[in-house]
Symmetry: C2
Subunit: 202 residues, 2 copies
């Protein structure tokens, strides 16, 4: 079984992506979550170095200027980036890596690693259902929910940049499909035959 795949996963805000990723990684071996850098304020329960590396905007911009990010994007007014060194370290261990990034970041990775990444989009069952789920998060103001819904509608247009789409009807089923995609990708002949490790030439 070949490891060292790069799984790029995107989903509109509120689709349940974080829960799905955590459950999937907990249930599998030899796969790690690549922790992103962000200028966003931590939410309740989020841990530094586990969920994100929380940094100030000037630090982020300085890192970006030094070319330390593989991809970065502004989402809902906050900056998010994937540091090259974080991924490099995991890739060298031969582990499968999950990148949780938005559609803009995914497009940047796609340009750099077209045939190496496996692109997965997690979609809500419908925009109506997404609206209900976002409203259920009592922490957010109505205006923010409206913005997120408008963004979701826009992001859904990028689905054809992805190899797979997982519709999150229930978390259990979505985790099952994501696990299946990871197992299937590990059994691809093109990777088995080439024996080529994930080569992140920057």
């Amino acid at each position: 079984m070949y490891h060292g795949n790069l799984f790029i996963i995107s989903a509109p805000s509120g689709t349940g992506k974080t829960t799905i990723l955590k459950k999937t990684i907990a249930a599998m071996k030899e796969i790690v979550f690549s922790v992103s850098h962000t200028t966003r304020t931590p939410r309740a329960g989020e841990q530094e170095g586990v969920d994100y590396f929380f940094i100030d905007k000037d630090v982020f911009l300085s890192m970006e200027q030094q070319g330390l990010f593989l991809e970065w994007a502004e989402v809902h007014g906050n900056l998010y980036g994937t540091s090259r060194s974080t991924i490099q370290a995991e890739a060298e261990k031969g582990l499968d890596i999950i990148l949780d990034i938005d559609v803009q970041g995914a497009r940047q990775v796609n340009e750099k690693f077209k045939d190496k990444g496996v692109f997965i989009f997690i979609a809500p069952p419908s925009l109506e259902e997404l609206a209900r789920r976002l409203a259920g998060r009592s922490t957010e103001a109505e205006a923010i929910i409206a913005t997120r819904l408008a963004n979701a509608k826009e992001e859904m247009k990028s689905i054809d940049d992805y190899d797979y789409v997982i519709v999150n009807d229930t978390v259990e089923q979505a985790v099952e499909v994501l696990k299946s995609i990871i197992i299937a990708e590990r059994s691809r002949t093109r990777r088995d035959l080439s024996g080529e490790p994930l080569n992140l030439v920057f």
Copy 2:
């Protein structure tokens, strides 16, 4: 979730393919096994119309001449063929179909349905292990085992015609991987987006 995929599965004799396919189909929904025609004598426990349609060689050759087979091949001195009408009927129901055919037949299907079929090769852990498993089938003479091993060695060279390879270390694990491949393929965007049903234009 999109259905109507054509899974083409090959494996050297003695690899455990039949057991893996039966267990996988029993555990899943909306997937059927395409029953082949053969001139081979039924083995103990094999049922007409379930495992194969057992027919005489002259009937087989007459069907072949009428163009009734999607693919056919001679394997170990017996003829095996996939009837177009059998597949057509399942495809029209929108079901996923599993074709259990040898590397020659797979090559014929690949030429006809290149981008529609999902090609899966089941491999033994090693040729030594395959020899042990074939010897364990007490029904077969040593000369037949030697032929099967030589054929296996030859068939393994075709692995790069396939999309996936499943190494049958244990049946349980191989079934798990095959199920995962089927679930993953049902989540492909290219199929979801096209919404195109399996179109078997003969």
